[in-house]
């Protein structure tokens, strides 16, 4: 067996799983978005009607979803950058502790965290009762729970570990000697950060933004549990097309329309990031 061939076959099972359980299903799912539904049965076809329906019926939901996802992804990336920067450059011996907390909160507790926020943010919840007890507010803030605010707080909390780690990964590789040299030559702290640190963590920033954005844009559990009656995101409509209306073609057309929208936003973000971080 050739040298290359010998090092190819052990990777085959992993690629088979990837092909059969990711590429295959997503390709079939794409095909279904061009099919029709007749008497609750899928009928092969090639129609763009599902996409037209999505455009007419769900455009507002899609725009709302992309906007709130953009907001959440930006907040998460900025706070994630601050935490990663703190752990890498400012926290000294506490840096490892911060990293540990981030890693511990990464794995596990998706549903648990969402319903915990329900108890924290409610009118009788911990946050409101503490604020009232401290005399900072007179009566509980009703808009904390069952609102877009609650969705933002919950998802930022859930996504932060996913954002901190790739950014920290980029920051870890930064050599401290050029930083000290720039400071010695009179550059301000802000200038060093902007011109030396930030450009080097571009891949980490993009990864952090992409994960936060994609997970939010496809989420339906958080808006369902803490978003209240007026926060419907695309994921909720996709889910209800499947569960309540058993309409897979519309659901998959909406899914792919959202993925295209997400792809466009990520492309724009990458171009903006490249422009902002261009060395002066």
């Amino acid at each position: 067996m050739s040298e290359l061939g010998r090092h190819r076959w052990p990777a085959l099972p992993a690629f088979a799983v990837f092909g059969l359980l990711f590429v295959g299903p997503l390709a079939f799912f794409l095909v279904v978005s061009f099919w029709r539904l007749r008497a609750y049965k899928l009928v092969p076809d090639f129609t763009l009607d599902n996409y037209l329906d999505v455009w007419n019926e769900y455009l507002h939901a899609a725009i709302f979803t992309l906007s709130i996802s953009l907001l959440i992804a930006i907040i998460t990336t900025v706070i994630g950058l601050m935490i990663a920067y703190l752990a890498r450059f400012r926290a000294g011996r506490y840096g490892n502790l911060i990293l540990f907390v981030v890693l511990v909160t990464l794995f596990g507790g998706y549903l648990v965290k969402i319903y915990a926020w329900k108890t924290i943010l409610g009118t009788g919840g911990i946050l409101n009762s503490t604020l009232v007890d401290l005399g900072l507010i007179d009566e509980p803030l009703a808009w904390l729970l069952y609102s877009p605010t609650a969705v933002v707080i919950t998802l930022v909390n859930f996504l932060l570990p996913f954002a901190v780690l790739p950014i920290y990964g980029s920051l870890r590789g930064i050599d401290e000697v050029p930083l000290a040299a720039a400071r010695d030559l009179g550059a301000s702290g802000a200038r060093v950060f902007r011109d030396i640190v930030l450009p080097q963590c571009k891949p980490g920033l993009f990864a952090a933004f992409a994960v936060s954005f994609l997970i939010t844009a496809g989420d339906y559990v958080t808006p369902r549990l803490v978003g209240g009656p007026n926060t419907f995101m695309a994921g909720n409509f996709i889910e209800s097309q499947f569960i309540n209306r058993l309409n897979a073609p519309i659901g998959s057309a909406l899914s792919y329309a959202m993925l295209i929208g997400c792809g466009l936003v990520l492309l724009l973000f990458q171009r903006a990031l490249t422009r902002v971080l261009r060395p002066r």
């Binding site: 990837f18 108890t119 496809g218 989420d219």
Partner: protein, 260 residues
């Protein structure tokens, strides 16, 4: 870097607040699972184990626990074997090709879980398959194997392949060489990778929900409890899930080099 006292204070404040923010939902669930009161409000009342007792008396809990154990252990074992084999192969590739392959195999982690779940459910049902644990397990593999591959690949980067070559030159079969040379060197990494795969699998709700049919795992049980009346034993269940996922990831992180 030198820091002014004001900047130092502000960074300290930010660090404290952000760590509290990250930990508060988890801490709260654990604390209230031992609280006497029905409602999760302060003061929380006396210390009690009654919510755990209530949970243990629920037959749904035991069937969900059994299903979760079957899924988690199978997914952990299978994804570790498949992922390790892939990482071993990738470690011999050119670094560029290997990282492109790992990026590709990691796409399922980036895909919104709902879309992946519905694609899997639609495809599996059009193949005429009945849903159950046998459809959940393969569905989990696709998003747990990337973690194993990344963790084991990071370890294999430091592996001295000359040892393997000498064993092969001296007549060891590929399997014999793997079990006597490679495995003893990467055993702890493999345990760590398996534990990470298991915590990701154990915590999954969305993909499980759409591919399991009528059965229940611990997260889908949480979902069911969330939709019925206010039931504080949900805090007890949440605590058990957190203990399982956090303990295994802490062990995993302390024995591997994987840091995100």
């Amino acid at each position: 870097m030198e820091t002014s006292p004001l900047a130092k204070t502000l960074w300290g404040l930010f660090g404290t607040v952000s760590m509290l923010f990250l930990l508060s939902p988890i801490a709260l669930v654990v604390i209230f699972s031992f609280g006497e009161n029905r409602l999760a409000t302060l003061p929380m009342g006396g210390l009690t184990f009654k919510w755990y007792g209530k949970l243990m008396a629920d037959p749904n809990f035991w069937s969900a626990l059994e299903n979760s154990l079957i899924v988690t252990l199978s997914v952990g074992a299978i994804s570790t074997v498949i992922g390790t084999a892939a990482a071993m192969a990738l470690a011999r590739w050119r670094p560029g090709a290997a990282s492109a392959a790992m990026m590709t195999l990691s796409l399922p982690v980036m895909m919104p879980p709902l879309v992946l779940a519905l694609a899997l459910a639609t495809s599996l049902s059009s193949l005429g398959l009945r849903f159950g644990l046998h459809t959940v397990i393969p569905s989990h593999l696709v998003f747990t194997q990337p973690f194993v591959i990344l963790i084991v690949y990071a370890q294999m980067a430091n592996f001295n392949f000359a040892m393997l070559e000498s064993a092969r030159d001296l007549g060891a079969s590929p399997w014999h060489a793997f079990f006597t040379i490679v495995l003893p060197n990467i055993r702890s990494t493999l345990i760590g990778a398996a534990l990470i795969a298991m915590s990701v699998s154990l915590d999954d709700f969305i993909i499980t929900f759409f591919t399991i049919g009528n059965g229940m795992t611990l997260p889908t049980l949480v979902w069911g409890m969330l939709r019925t009346a206010l039931d504080p034993s949900i805090n007890a269940l949440g605590t058990l899930i957190l203990i399982a996922t956090i303990t295994s990831s802490v062990i995993a992180l302390s024995i591997t080099r994987y840091r995100g």
